[in-house]
Assembly symmetry: C2
Homo-oligomer: 164 residues x 2
DNA sequence: TGCAATTTCTTTAAACTTCAAGCAATTGGC
DNA sequence: GCCAATTGCTTGAAGTTTAAAGAAATTGCA
């Protein structure tokens, strides 16, 4: 143990091991849960996770969303969304129509079928998530929410500093 | 607001909203950081995240690892690892040799080049992560570690129960 | 021993993903 | 109005990923 002049424990200047371990744990945890959700979606509804995620974004709004909005909210590339939407229009879950005022813009909406199917899946999905986090107390959840918000803020600060 | 007989706020029996919000926040946080790490790896070292992750697994051991070990540790499919290893052998970062006692098994190792390049990247990577989590106090980190461990355990319990 | 089950790895098809380049439309000076 | 910059979206190439099926080798048990 290393102590400073006032006899408090201090870190070595470049020991960044704890942050790295935190990141690996965060990643493991997310990957584990994501894999579980992916399996269940495929098994029960024969749907992929990206499609579910995209429909989840659209379910939040009634009047549709542009491709750019979707890619920002899903934090994936534009080209990615183009392909996903294409396949979901093909399967009858989505509906696209071009903006009247800006012919570059496409508004994407859930069709009646798409919304109905999504709602069924979402109800199950919510139960799965509740079970997956079932061992956490309400207090644990509040603390995690708080600390993750702080981590997110920190990551955004770091990303912004780099790109500046 | 719903109150129980002792006048404390209670949740509706199947309100699983808090767990869902927790999951979304966890996912957002991880996606954000992962994207940032991916960008920096590409920008500074022209390497993809999956390749970095694979080399990170191999760097932990001196005598190599089988493809199955790799796929378990990375939590990805077997076929996925086959392709990644193939490309990394091609580029001279990895080395494969067949087990003498079991001809199905391939031991994969970092080459001298591979290890040298990885070490350089890893040192930078560790600093990036430290910066990304820079706003968190040591106590925040400890708490997050603890709660994520609990979440992981809970998720594993849930996954196991389903597959049983 | 014999052979069914298991394990290790590869292959295949389809989907997902990013990045970079490019096209079309709009916007914002001037 | 003109035109450079920006915005919204698509395309193409390369790579990653999964799920499923299959090949090869080993194991275990009757």
């Amino acid at each position: 143990m290393i102590l400073d002049s006032e006899t408090k424990a201090v870190e070595l200047p470049d020991d960044h091991g704890t942050e790295l371990r935190l990141w690996l744990r965060l990643l493991t945890c997310t990957t584990l849960i994501e894999g579980e959700v992916r399996s269940r979606l495929r098994e029960k509804f024969d749907v992929t996770l990206p499609r579910f995620d995209l429909m989840a974004q659209l379910d939040k709004v009634s009047d549709g969303m542009t491709l750019s909005d979707l890619s920002k909210r899903m934090m994936v590339s534009n080209g990615n969304v183009t392909g996903l939407v294409e396949r979901l229009v093909e399967s009858g879950h989505l509906d696209r129509r071009t903006s009247e005022t800006d012919r570059r813009v496409q508004f994407i909406r859930l069709t009646k079928l798409g919304r109905a199917e999504f709602r069924k899946m979402a109800a199950e999905h919510e139960k799965w998530i509740a079970d997956i986090f079932g061992d956490l107390s309400p207090k644990d959840i509040r603390e995690l929410m708080r600390l993750l918000a702080k981590a997110k803020g920190s990551a955004q600060r770091s990303a912004k500093a780099r790109s500046a």
